[in-house]
C-alpha cells in the first residue's frame, strides 16, 4: 500500500516537472509542441516521461496527428505504464487545449493543469502520511503486544 502511494507521489512529482518544462519550452524556446513534449519526457523520466515522449513522437505535422490523437494512441501503445489515474485525467483534458492557443493562453492552461496536479499531490501526500502514522502505531502496538505476551 505504502509502496503504491510512494510510486504515485513520485509520478506526480515527475508530472509537475514535465508540465513546468513544457511551459518553459513554449514560453522561452518557442519549440514546436511535439519537440517540447519529447524534451519534457526525456527530462523527467519514469512512466510519466515515457508518456510525454510517446505523445510528442506520435503527434504533429510529420505524423499527421493532432495532440489529442497522439495522446489517445500513446495510451493504447503504453499499456504497461503505471500512472496515477489523475495524471491521465489531467493530461486528457490538457491535450484538448495544447497547441491550439497563443503563447499566453497556452501557459495559462498548463498552469491550471499544474494547479490541479499540486492539489492532487497534496491529497496523496496527506494520505501517505496518515497511513504511515497508522502503520507506525499499529507496529508499536503489535510490538507491545508481543512484549506483554512474552512477559
Amino acid at each position: 500500500m505504502a509502496a503504491k502511494l510512494e510510486k504515485q507521489l513520485d509520478e506526480l512529482g515527475r508530472f509537475e516537472l514535465a508540465l513546468l518544462t513544457l511551459s518553459n519550452e513554449i514560453s522561452y524556446s518557442l519549440s514546436s509542441l511535439p519537440k517540447a513534449l519529447v524534451n519534457a519526457g526525456h527530462k523527467v523520466g519514469g512512466d510519466t516521461g515515457t508518456l510525454f515522449t510517446l505523445i510528442g513522437s506520435l503527434c504533429g505535422l510529420e505524423q499527421r496527428r493532432t495532440v489529442e490523437e497522439g495522446f489517445r494512441l500513446a495510451l493504447e501503445q503504453a499499456e504497461g505504464l503505471d500512472l496515477p489515474g489523475c495524471v491521465v485525467e489531467i493530461m486528457g483534458s490538457l491535450v484538448k487545449n495544447l497547441g491550439v492557443w497563443g503563447s499566453k493562453e497556452q501557459v495559462s492552461f498548463i498552469d491550471m493543469a499544474l494547479g490541479e496536479t499540486r492539489n492532487y499531490r497534496a491529497c496523496v501526500q496527506e494520505e501517505y502520511l496518515k497511513k504511515a502514522r497508522m502503520y507506525r502505531s499499529l507496529g508499536l502496538l503489535f510490538a507491545l503486544g508481543i512484549v506483554i505476551v512474552l512477559l
Binding site: L30, S32, L61, R65, V67, G70, G99, W101, G102, Q106
Partner: protein, 311 residues
C-alpha cells in the same frame, strides 16, 4: 522527376485534411482527373461547401459542408500542433507549409490599443498550391547581360498575376547555376523574400528551387534585408520582389552603389507606367537599373512584352 499536380495534392495537401474532406476531395479528383491537374486553390470555410479553385472558375462540392472540427484539425496539423510558435506569422494572414504551398487564414481579428492585432477563431483556410515553372527565364538571360559579362541590374515589370515572381525565381535558379550559352558564371544570389513568395521558405529552408547558391532572408522587409545581406553575405546579386516605397529605393541604390547587382520586380504596365511612379522613376532615371523585362498575360501569364535596355 517533376511531380504531377495530383501527386502534389496527395502527398502534400490531402494528409492535412480530416478524413471526410480527404475522401470527398479524392473522390472528386478521381472523377475529374484532367481538372485535378489544374487545381490552384482549395478553400475550407466553416459551414460552407468545400471549394476547389480552378483556372478562371471554381467548383463547390455541395455534398461536403466543412465543419469547425475539420478546420481545427487542419489548423492543428499545418501549425505542427504549435499555434503559439506561429502567432507572429499568423498576423500576416498566411503561413507557408512544406512543399512551399501557402495557407491563407481568416477569422476573428482582435485589434489591440497599440495598433497590433491578433487572429483568433480561424474559420476559413485557403490552400494556394505552389507551382514551379522552370526554364521561363532561360532564353531571356542572354539579353540581360551587361558589357562586363555579368548579369545587368534588371527591373521586372508587370501587373499582378502575370508571372513576375515565377520569372524572378527562375532567374535566381539560373544565376546560381550559371548559363554556359552566354558565358554567365555562377553567382552568389541573395534573396530578400518579404512575402515568402520567391523561395516559399518553411522553417527557414526554401521549398522551391532557387538554385544552389541562394541565401534567403525570409519575411524580412526589403529595405532592412538588403542592408543586412550586403553586410553579412557578400552577394553578387540581390533579388527582391515588388519594390515600392522610398526606403526600398534607397536600399536598392545603396546596394548598386556598392557594386552588387540588383534584380527586382515592381508593379506596372510598361516602362512609361514605371516612370510615372516617383520612386521607380528615381531609380530608372539615375541609371540604377539598366535593363527591363515587361510581362503581361496577353497570351497567358508570363507573356514577354519587352526585354532590353531602359532608355
Amino acid at each position: 522527376m517533376p511531380r504531377t499536380m495530383t501527386g502534389v495534392l496527395i502527398q502534400d495537401i490531402m494528409p492535412l485534411f480530416s478524413s471526410r474532406i480527404g475522401k470527398a476531395l479524392g473522390g472528386w479528383m478521381e472523377r475529374h482527373p484532367n481538372q485535378a491537374e489544374t487545381i490552384q486553390e482549395i478553400r475550407l470555410r466553416t459551414g460552407l461547401p468545400l471549394c476547389i479553385g480552378l483556372p478562371g472558375h471554381d467548383h463547390l462540392i455541395h455534398s461536403l459542408v466543412v465543419s469547425r472540427a475539420d478546420i481545427d484539425k487542419t489548423l492543428s496539423l499545418i501549425t505542427d500542433c504549435s499555434y503559439y510558435a506561429l502567432e507572429d506569422e499568423f498576423k500576416g494572414g498566411y503561413i507557408t507549409i512544406p512543399g512551399g504551398h501557402r495557407v491563407g487564414l481568416s477569422g476573428q481579428v482582435i485589434a489591440h490599443a497599440d495598433g497590433g492585432h491578433k487572429l483568433r477563431l480561424i474559420s476559413a483556410l485557403c490552400f494556394r498550391i505552389a507551382r514551379e515553372v522552370k526554364g521561363v527565364a532561360e532564353h531571356i538571360v542572354p539579353k540581360l547581360m551587361s558589357s562586363d559579362g555579368s548579369i545587368a541590374s534588371t527591373l521586372i515589370i508587370s501587373p499582378p498575376g502575370c508571372g513576375k515572381t515565377t520569372f524572378l525565381r527562375d532567374l535566381c535558379r539560373i544565376l546560381g547555376h550559371g548559363l554556359s550559352s552566354c558565358s554567365l558564371r555562377p553567382a552568389q544570389v541573395a534573396i530578400v523574400d518579404e512575402r515568402s513568395e520567391i523561395a516559399a521558405c518553411y522553417g527557414g529552408v526554401p521549398q522551391l528551387d532557387v538554385g544552389p547558391r541562394a541565401d534567403v532572408l525570409d519575411r524580412c522587409p526589403k529595405a532592412k534585408g538588403i542592408g543586412m545581406l550586403l553586410r553579412s553575405m557578400n552577394p553578387d546579386v540581390i533579388v527582391t520582389d515588388e519594390l515600392g516605397g522610398e526606403d526600398d529605393a534607397r536600399a536598392v541604390a545603396m546596394a548598386l552603389s556598392g557594386g552588387v547587382k540588383v534584380i527586382a520586380s515592381c508593379h506596372g504596365r510598361d516602362l512609361d507606367d514605371i516612370r510615372s511612379k516617383p520612386y521607380s522613376e528615381w531609380l530608372v532615371s539615375r541609371g540604377y537599373f539598366t535593363k527591363a523585362v515587361v510581362l503581361s498575360k496577353r497570351h497567358g501569364p508570363g507573356t514577354i512584352e519587352y526585354v532590353g535596355d531602359i532608355m
